[in-house]
Amino acid sequence: MTTDHQQLIVGIGAGARELATEDMILNIGPQHPSTHGVLRLRITLDGERIQTAEPIVGYMHRGAEKLFEVRDFRQIIVLANRHDWLSAFANELGVVLAVERMLGMEVPERAVWARTLLAELNRVLNHLMFLGSYPIEMGAITPIFYAFREREEIQRVMEEISGGRMHYMFNRVGGLKEDLPAGWLGRTRHAVSDVRSRMGDIRNLIAGNEIFHARTRGVGVLSREQILQYGVSGPIARAAGVDFDLRRDEPYLAYGELTVPVVTRKEGDCLARFECLLDQVYVSLDLADACLDRLERLPQGPINQRLPKILKVPEGHTYAWTENPLGINGYYLVSRGEKTPWRLKLRSASYNNIQVLAEILPGNLVADMIAILGSMFFVVGDIDK
């Protein structure tokens, strides 16, 4: 496929009917039941086999990076937790880490451990969502309700601590917004053990199903080279054997003191991606337990730093990256010593992950497209920013 052919398709779209090809052009999205939002894929079909696929992004572009430049550092957190609405807490982290690093600010130990705990709970929430929604795309409608039952357990403790159910806004530069409520650690421990004990339901319901295996095994195989080339990260990359996890390889928060088992698979197919996600839930629950153990042992102390009325970040630049539930989230912060950043570049996981679709979709059946698309675990807001 050369560039000329690309232009040919656009030509038909513009109404040049006489240039019709034998292939059928199918638009998947922006309003398609299986795109979780407004991703659009332009697909050329030959029968039911995909010839070319082109992800068209930007329907939800909100100009987050530009908005960052006219908000002060406290307001930025509100904006930054929105692009990936399933991992709001993890999004906030990148911003505050970058700002704290520029300020040279020391965060109280309790805040560090509480952040780690909340980040892991957020990861569980995110993964549960995809563990439920992926089977739906394969026609299994029940697992999502089991996933949501577990999500509700964790949402409850998250809501108790932050007041929010999606956009927690619990991070502050220098720590967390408020101290942990009395008895919250016990309730969280309870929720974590409940979720762990019932994860088997989801596993038994879908992960061992032969039809599910037949549809996902060997489908949409990503190679190590493609992953490195496109900057794919997170569980999708790890499912193809790219053993890379910032929590272990470049620890932030309290991960350095924890042993983070990195879940990997070799196959790189849809099933491997799903299994990676499933196993990561267990890992995250274990990490959450470890954080809870530590938090219970820590002496009482502050959970945040007192900030000046006007927070100015000294001149300079830094790049903070975190292992978000869906992959690497990066914030390149350039400050000119003002109360707003001069530039805050956002590298979101889904944006990079989704680009590889143009590589792995061609040659597959339309039915496989759904399996592959769903297994890329993306949030459209995270793509379009």
């Binding site: 496929m1 050329t44 299994a140 409608i141 029940t142 060997g218 196959e267 061609p362």
Partner: protein
């Protein structure tokens, strides 16, 4: 002409009011079954999914189906500009009308007395009753194909084509599963098939046929795990993407009537029809007379409907090629082999072969059929491009970038512009479409 109350001939003798009454009762029964099965489906699936399900319309939400129907009927009917209007209108009608008919040959019970008139609890019976069901389900396929074709939308077109291919494939396997039943009953009339199951159900006697029927029944009904024609994730709504209002409701109605019909047919052909389940008849001799059989029949039908619902709550959807492979390469050969096996055994036993010889020959035949089927399957699958059952290729273990992490090496081959060769597309000169 002498009118009897037994056998097929009895049906021609019903007075006109009984014929009309039977038709009306069947119609009402179907509508009630559809409304109730929609409610049961939503409540049962709700329970399976930790939800409550509809409980607002009427007691326990029983009127939910009715409310949905009324709502759909009062909606604006959008007919897209490009569609073939006549066919677009005809398709839901063709889909819904034949669905009512199949139920007429289903026996609800034995001969009873209605206002002093002896008649069988069955709309009518024909020497080719089961063929009528097959014919009507084929008519239903027309509705779906026409809907897909007339909508002028790629989703509808693909959905309609898929469904036609799927349903004709499964219809063959389904009709083959009937053949063994006909062999034992010696008839295609449903009342005689039920009568033939007085002592043992064909579902037990002909277990392979029963299993094949159950699988094909799921394929015919377009439900999970074979609901590809309307696989909502892939082709949006499939063939009914462009339909709205009552026309959409007609497809819905047809689907649920088919559900009831297929369940009733399974009951009739394999589960002894209106005969009481075994332990009951030994305790209570009167279980198979009077109006009681209607109860057994309904219990069996609802057991099947529940089975459908249960599957929908627990299974994902198969992929299209897997579906076709199952139909043509597994169900069909097994059906054919099974029919021949049954026929051979029956003939042999009539010709006086003793049990031992029968077992030996039977064993040899089964072995040959199985080996042949597997060998054929192997040969036939060897040419597949993507075999979902094959071991996936492992990612190469060589790690050139080890130690270079987290920065990926810059000298990797660049992927842009190296798209596979299949992407070359044929151009058609102007005016051909």
């Amino acid at each position: 002409m002498k009118c009897t109350t037994e056998g097929i001939a009895g049906f021609g003798c019903d007075p006109w009011w009984l014929i009309g009454g039977k038709a009306l009762v069947i119609f009402v029964f179907l509508v009630l079954t559809v409304l109730l099965s929609m409610w049961v489906e939503r409540r049962v699936i709700g329970r399976m999914q930790l939800r409550i399900g509809p409980n607002r319309c009427g007691p326990f939400g029983l009127l939910q189906g009715l409310a949905d129907g009324v709502k759909l009927a009062l909606k604006e009917d959008i007919v897209p500009a490009g569609v073939d209007k006549v066919v677009f209108w005809l398709a839901p009608v063709v889909s819904a009308v034949p669905a009512f008919i199949s139920f007429i040959i289903i026996p609800f019970g034995p001969t009873v007395s209605i206002f002093g008139h002896q008649t069988q609890l069955q709309g009518t019976d024909l020497p080719v009753a089961v063929l009528l069901v097959l014919a009507m389900s084929s008519m239903g396929i027309y509705g779906i194909v026409l809907a897909g074709w007339s909508s002028m939308s790629p989703y509808s077109l693909l959905g309609g084509l898929r469904s036609s291919a799927q349903m004709i494939s499964y219809e063959i396997a389904m009709s083959l599963s009937f053949v063994a039943v006909f062999m034992f009953a010696g008839s295609m009339s449903t009342s005689q098939i039920v009568a033939g199951q007085q002592h043992i159900w064909y579902g037990v006697l002909l277990l392979p046929s029963f299993l094949i029927y159950i699988i094909t029944m799921m394929g015919e009904s377009n439900r999970i795990p074979f609901d590809l024609p309307e696989g909502e994730g892939e082709l949006v709504g499939g063939f009914h993407t462009e339909y709205s209002s009552l026309k959409f409701a007609m497809f819905f109605l047809a689907e649920y009537i088919n559900l009831a019909t297929l369940s009733a047919l399974a009951t009739t052909l394999f589960l002894g029809g209106w005969h009481a389940p075994p332990p009951i008849t030994t305790i209570w001799a009167g279980a198979n007379s009077g109006w009681w059989p209607v109860l057994w029949f309904l219990i069996k039908i609802w057991a099947f409907i529940f089975f459908f619902i249960w599957l929908r709550g627990s299974l994902p959807r198969v992929r299209y090629d897997q579906l076709m492979k199952l139909g043509w390469k597994v169900l069909m050969p097994i059906s054919l082999g099974w029919i021949l096996l049954v026929a051979t055994i029956r003939t042999a036993s009539r010709e006086g072969l003793n049990q031992t010889q029968l077992l030996i020959y039977g064993g040899i035949t089964i072995a040959v059929v199985l080996v042949g089927s597997f060998a054929w399957d192997l040969v036939a699958t060897s040419g597949r491009q993507v075999d979902p059952y094959a071991e996936p290729e492992r990612a190469t273990a060589a790690e050139p970038a080890q130690g270079g992490f987290p920065v990926p090496p810059l000298d990797l081959p660049h992927y842009h512009g190296v798209l596979p060769e299949t992407a070359a597309r044929k151009e058609v000169s102007s005016g051909t479409h």
